[in-house]
């Protein structure tokens, strides 16, 4: 029950931050993937099944709040959540640099998957936000690793 409340709180914070940022600093939205951070955080804390299920839920919420093909974000976040939970069990994420690289690789995979699904399969033009979106994995990984480090996300596993 406590985990469920924590997850709900994480999603609510992501929605709130997204809504606030889009009002005051709209360009920042291209640089931060807040829903993915929630997925990766809880996937590291729990396991790959939890990560995949949360990834699917968060992705579908993101899809429902945006105009596009419903399920694209769901699919890419499911894989991200699964990989985050699975790989985090195998490697040591105690150092900041490792954590940063880990999140960066995950987010890059997610971004490539999302872009491929959106533009190649569904021939939907993706908005690059004047190229800013290409930096999204890097900037999100930096912010994410800072937050995770402060919250001690990797402490339980190691």
């Amino acid at each position: 029950m406590r985990d469920f409340i924590k997850v709900c709180l994480g999603i609510i914070i992501a929605i709130f931050l997204y809504t606030s940022l889009s009002k005051f600093l709209p360009r920042l939205i291209y640089l931060l993937n807040l829903f993915s951070l929630v997925v990766i955080y809880f996937a590291i804390k729990k396991d790959e099944i939890f990560g995949a299920c949360l990834g699917a839920s968060c992705g579908l919420i993101q899809d429902s709040l945006s105009l596009g093909v419903f399920g694209v974000a769901g699919l890419s976040k499911t894989i991200t959540g699964f990989l985050a939970g699975y790989v985090s069990k195998k490697i040591d994420l105690l150092s900041f640099l490792r954590l940063f690289i880990f999140i960066f690789v995950l987010l890059s995979i997610e971004f490539i998957l999302w872009a491929l699904l959106s533009s190649l399969i569904f021939s939907e033009r993706i908005s690059l936000g004047k190229g800013l979106i290409l930096f999204q994995p890097l900037s999100t990984a930096f912010v994410g690793s800072l937050i995770f480090y402060m919250l001690g996300a990797t402490k339980i596993k190691t």
Binding site: I12, P26, I49, A52, S64, F70, G71, V72, S127, G129
Partner: protein, 278 residues
Amino acid sequence: MTLFFKEKKSLIILIALILAQFILISIQLPGGSERNYFEKAVFSIFSPIQHGIVSFFRSIGNLWKNYFALRHVQSQNQEMKEQIFFLRQENNLLQNALQKFRTEKEIQDGLLEVHKNILLAEIIGLDVSNFFKSAIINRGSIHGIRKDMVVLDEKGNLVGRVISPISLREARIQLITDNESGVGVFSQLKGVSGVLAGDGNGMCSFKYVLATNKDIREGEGVLTSGREGIFPSGIKVGKIVSIAKDTSLFKEIKVEPYFDIRRLERVAVIMKEPTEIF
């Protein structure tokens, strides 16, 4: 067999989730832009949450804002009085112009209808994947919102139209800056017509103007033509900012919309087509 499932449990769940989402995606293909029931359900659950979060923080923000607003209320009041004065003059002039075509009673009834059919709504969220695509408003089916209703900003400039999903108290609007939006438009000076499509980055393209056309200029305003049957004609859309020669048959014309997504807080939803009113 049981051991196999135990060992591969996580992989099986992952494959099941991926398959479920592929099915979800493929369901949408025959429907095209029509939203499926599952998406409508997710939207109906999460848009009120977003609505609640935004309302809560907006009310806190408003408390602070109201305190400062009180300090400027007198000068603001004076400014507004001046604005009302000019708006009344404008209104009178327009009414006089209309009287050439209609009787006074017809005009008064028409204006009353216009007033009754404008619904004020607030933007509670922007598109999470690209904020130039769509937005969510705090009015839904319970308030009489229907698909394809026209949405304008505070100054009466075109913002977009209502699209599905529409929940009880929330609805989604497609912005004219979305790359899948299409609006019939014409240029203000010489009436060159074409189709306005968003580029997904906050700007629009005025399409299908022949490269040989010399009647269109930079800085010119763009209005809706009403040819697509959704937007009534004569609504202000934007301004032409650049005209370039394309390699194709047509010119490459960039239009900057008049509405500003960053300042978009309140919008007006036209509950009826103005042609139905007047």
